[in-house]
């Protein structure tokens, strides 16, 4: 039984396996299947300042080894979260992390301030990379200046662990990571979805109501791995890696590339118990390779020079 504990900023995680925002509901949806307290953490679905209806139907298209979504941050707003959802999830014995989204910096600030007051939400993930909303969202994550600006503003009002979630739809993700690190982000998580599109050739219409949507799943794993690797060479803060992780082997690859923790997204849809299997699989890998701790493999990819 290897030591799976990791730390991000001062926050301890019993293991490095978290679930990705927007793919695990509020955790409650998975209670029937396993004890989610066995995970390192849960990233709950995006919260915005005002209530959002999200995008019209259809919101989903299946693609080769992946899927596109265009949910568009549907949620009932931060006040509903604080009053109605938080009471249901604050008892979880694992790190429940809020995913904070917005269209304007002011929106982000309001949500972050309110999250700061919630005792059992020890961290937020700043989503500056959602490709499915018309305003804000990804725009903040695609230039160093705006990524820096929003991180700075949130750092002022948010005193706990601040994770910034980066967009892969950029020329140089390492630069953006450095920019948010310089403004006091405690960690970066990557990647959010890649902007994609699906067309129905027979009807000659886009499949998604929004034409474009966010690509996730195993199809994007090679890109996610590469970005984690690039960012790990560029920053000193811990990295949370995600994108197409389906099993423990995939997770190990992210640790080797430099991730301190990982998130599981789309895979939850195919097997709701997958995250727990990944925890066990990582443990089994470490034992088999005689590593005492997960920290022994983080960033330990052997590259010839």
């Amino acid at each position: 039984m290897a030591d799976l504990k990791i730390k991000i900023n001062q926050l301890e995680f019993k293991n490095p396996v978290l679930t990705a925002s927007g793919t695990f509901g509020y955790g409650l949806e998975f209670d029937d299947f396993f004890d989610v307290n066995l995970l390192g953490g849960i990233l709950v679905k995006a919260t915005t300042n005002a209530k959002r209806e999200g995008n019209p139907y259809p919101r989903m298209a299946e693609t080769a080894s992946g899927m596109l979504n265009a949910v568009g941050l549907q949620n009932k707003g931060v006040d509903y979260f604080v009053n109605e959802i938080y009471p249901l999830i604050k008892g979880y014995q694992t790190n429940v992390i809020a995913n904070v989204s917005g269209s304007t910096i002011e929106d982000y600030i309001v949500v972050a301030e309110k999250m700061n007051e919630l005792e059992n939400i020890p961290a937020i993930e700043l989503n500056i990379s959602c490709p499915n909303v018309k305003q804000g969202g990804m725009a903040f994550g695609t230039s160093c200046a705006s990524a820096q600006e929003v991180t700075k503003a949130i750092r002022k009002v948010y005193s706990k662990t601040l994770i910034v979630k980066l967009s892969p739809n950029v020329t140089n993700i390492a630069e953006i990571a450095k920019a948010v690190e310089s403004e006091g982000a405690d960690s970066v998580s990557l990647i959010n979805t890649l902007l994609g599109m699906a067309i129905n050739a027979e009807t000659r219409k886009p499949i998604l109501s929004t034409v474009t949507g966010g690509l996730s799943g195993p199809a994007i794993k090679p890109i996610a791995l590469r970005m984690v690797w690039q960012v790990s060479k560029a920053v000193n803060i811990p990295i949370i890696g995600l994108g197409g992780i389906m099993n423990a082997t995939d997770a190990i690859e992210f640790f080797l590339a430099g991730a301190t923790a990982i998130q599981i997204g789309t895979a939850n849809f195919i097997d709701p118990t997958v995250s727990l299997k990944v925890v066990n699989g990582i443990n089994e890998y470490l034992d088999r390779h005689k590593f005492a701790s997960i920290n022994d493999i983080i960033g330990k990819l052997e590259v010839k020079n």
Binding site: K45, Y57, S65, Q74
Partner: protein, 258 residues
Amino acid sequence: MKKYIIDFKVLENKKLNDQNTILVLQSDEKLPEILAGQFVEVLVEDSPSTFLRRPFSVHNVDFHENTLSLFIKIAGIGSKKLTNIEVGENLNLIFPLGNGFSIPNEGSALLIGGGCGIGPLLFLAKCLMENNVEPHIILGGRSKEDIFEVHEYSKYGTVHITTDDGSLGEKGFVTKHTIIDDPDIKFDIIYTCGPEIMMKAVAKMAKSKGIECEVSLENTMACGIGACLCCVTETIDGNKCVCTEGPVFNINDLKWQI
């Protein structure tokens, strides 16, 4: 209701024709409660183009034999793979998912199904009968080749048939079947499942007669358990997930223009 992930064994693959199949699946474990109208999410393994699970309504359940059956119409690669699955193979299911149809305590009910929409109606008829509600079932299709399993439905209610070409039952649409205007029968509720255009016609008919009406909707689903928010439909209370707040909806809650 608690949801389960269970491997079932394929007990029977009843090919109705080259487009439709009924799979009878058996579980080693005792089946939990399942409501008429609920659905399952099936894992279709080993196919690059069926990355996500596929949703199918519960066609029938036998709680003594621990069997659950699905009515599957070929729509694409996943459903095709399923119609070719062999007896003895395993299928992994997440179930029971979604809400179910409301079951009154007495009276009579009209069930209207078209295409693979007849899927959930068999189990519904059975549950209605067991609750002392008298089911009348209209099965509709383009021609007699589209009408299946009449003897099965007849076990639980009176079956009426319409076909567009008149090759079986009454000629015309399901909403025009004479049973609907039969002065001797007062329907307390109407249920429908099938192509959207048919369900809308049924909804309109029900509304004009002032009869309660429930429809079972389809939608593109990624998770089936309320985690992804991909499967919304517009309701008078805003977007709702078809997988958890449906698939059965009362037509009064939908924003259908009928």
